[in-house]
Assembly symmetry: C2
Homo-oligomer: 271 residues x 2
């Protein structure tokens, strides 16, 4: 069985359109020496922005210095409401240093450490978008209280912030975070009511690792033989409730990103 | 069996004394309408500071406004290296707002969200002291790689930051965070190699909840019949390696706090 993520994204998009009809939201996306797939991603983002009446600018740089200069300019530009920095950054660039440069109030992706730290106070206005998308899908699908949630992956965009968010008192899942050094991942997932997979390996989670009736959120986007596949073997859908790939977490993530840009533009200041 | 935490604290104190002999470190501790136990804690902190050649000032306030004013003054005072704010804050005071006022570079307790968020980037200079003490004790006691660590408690001073820290790549424990809504805490702890208990309930963790040979870190400080007891039933020491209370996590926490003040004074700027 599959979760209908497109309908979730659509309801978020409706709110966004409602907001963007009254203001002029603008998102600026930065990229340093992007590869073809990053550029394709940004073009797709731009298409989505236009459909939601959000102005979108893509700025591509060859050097980190020029990039930083323009980034700071956008941070201080009142007509820019959201700032997106394409990842991965080039080798040798300090990810934390760049994240600290992003104005926290325009940090629609939730990369600035101050926005990550706020999660521990229960404040999620600028939670990382993908983690926020997973929370959105889960809370629309089930009551999380006391459920055993197992997260595969410990990135600062998904696994770590998501674990903090699922523990928040109004959700109160019991949360386990697994990774490459975990002794027996299959044993962990087999006991879980909820499994979130963000490992970046095609078809990693197999049916025998999932218990009947579990909810499985597939965060993976992998290209195999020119087709996009997730981190979860599609056979899992026969015993669990699964998010599809494509058309799953990704579409909700983009909807949340655009919604934030519109909300920042609407409020005019920190909210 | 007990872990000798006093020896760990002593080795940290030696480094602190070495640093403080060459500079004039100063810690300022703030309290708003403190009760007797908070005042006793601060006097004890002051005694410890003096023993380590750290100047220590206690500022007690009746109103939040005056407190905020003096807090900001201390943040901008170059002769002040560390700022401590006694908790819990009075009812109605916004904890996050106060935390955001503390200069991140003097935030020796690790309360400012920017310092909490940095943990997700692996940067732990200003990790919450108690969580840092638990990490210090654990890494001196065992190799964490692939171990199943179960944390009881989800506060932003222990459970949440500690979970992120134990997941860091150089430690790589598999981490589960449990709390009041967890379905069967005993089942979770019985499978754990490492248990960290921060629930604030005297003798909460019983021997049958602990597997033979586990390592148990007791973060609790409870007063029962005028005696200080931890969150772990002392009988647990017969089957596991346990930190004592008193003289366990608390003494290492204070040692780390003082060490940070001395380090900030020694470096003169952000490190």
């Amino acid at each position: 069985m599959y979760i209908d993520c497109k309908t979730i994204a659509k309801s978020i998009d409706e709110e966004t359109l409602n907001l963007s009809s009254r203001v002029k939201p603008k998102l600026v996306s930065f990229a340093i020496n992007p590869d073809e797939s990053t550029l394709a991603y940004l073009r797709n983002q731009q298409k989505k922005a236009k459909a939601l009446n959000i102005e979108h600018e893509i700025l591509v740089f060859e050097s980190v210095e020029t990039f930083q200069e323009k980034l700071l300019k956008a941070c201080n530009d009142d007509t820019v409401h959201g700032i997106f920095v394409a990842h991965p950054l080039p080798a040798g660039v300090d990810e934390l240093k760049i994240a600290c440069l992003i104005n926290p109030d325009k940090d629609v992706e939730g990369r600035n450490p101050v926005n990550l730290g706020r999660l521990m106070y229960g404040e999620e206005t600028f939670a990382p978008c993908t983690a926020a998308a997973v929370v959105e899908i889960l809370t629309r699908t089930t009551d999380l209280t006391g459920k055993n949630a197992v997260i595969l992956g410990r990135s600062n965009t998904v696994g770590l912030p998501l674990s903090v968010m699922l523990l928040r008192r109004d959700r109160s899942a019991t949360v386990t975070v697994c990774h490459t050094k975990t002794r027996d991942i299959g044993e962990m997932t087999a006991r879980a009511d909820i499994i979130v997979v963000a490992v970046g390996k095609a078809n990693f989670l197999k049916p025998h690792m999932v218990r009947e009736g579990a909810i499985v959120i597939d965060v993976g986007i992998n290209v195999v033989n020119d087709r996009i596949v997730g981190d979860v073997d599609p056979e899992v859908a026969n015993r669990a409730t699964l998010t599809p790939v494509p058309g799953g977490v990704g579409v909700v993530t983009t909807a949340i990103l655009m919604n934030r840009v519109a909300r920042i533009a609407s409020r005019g200041d920190r909210f």
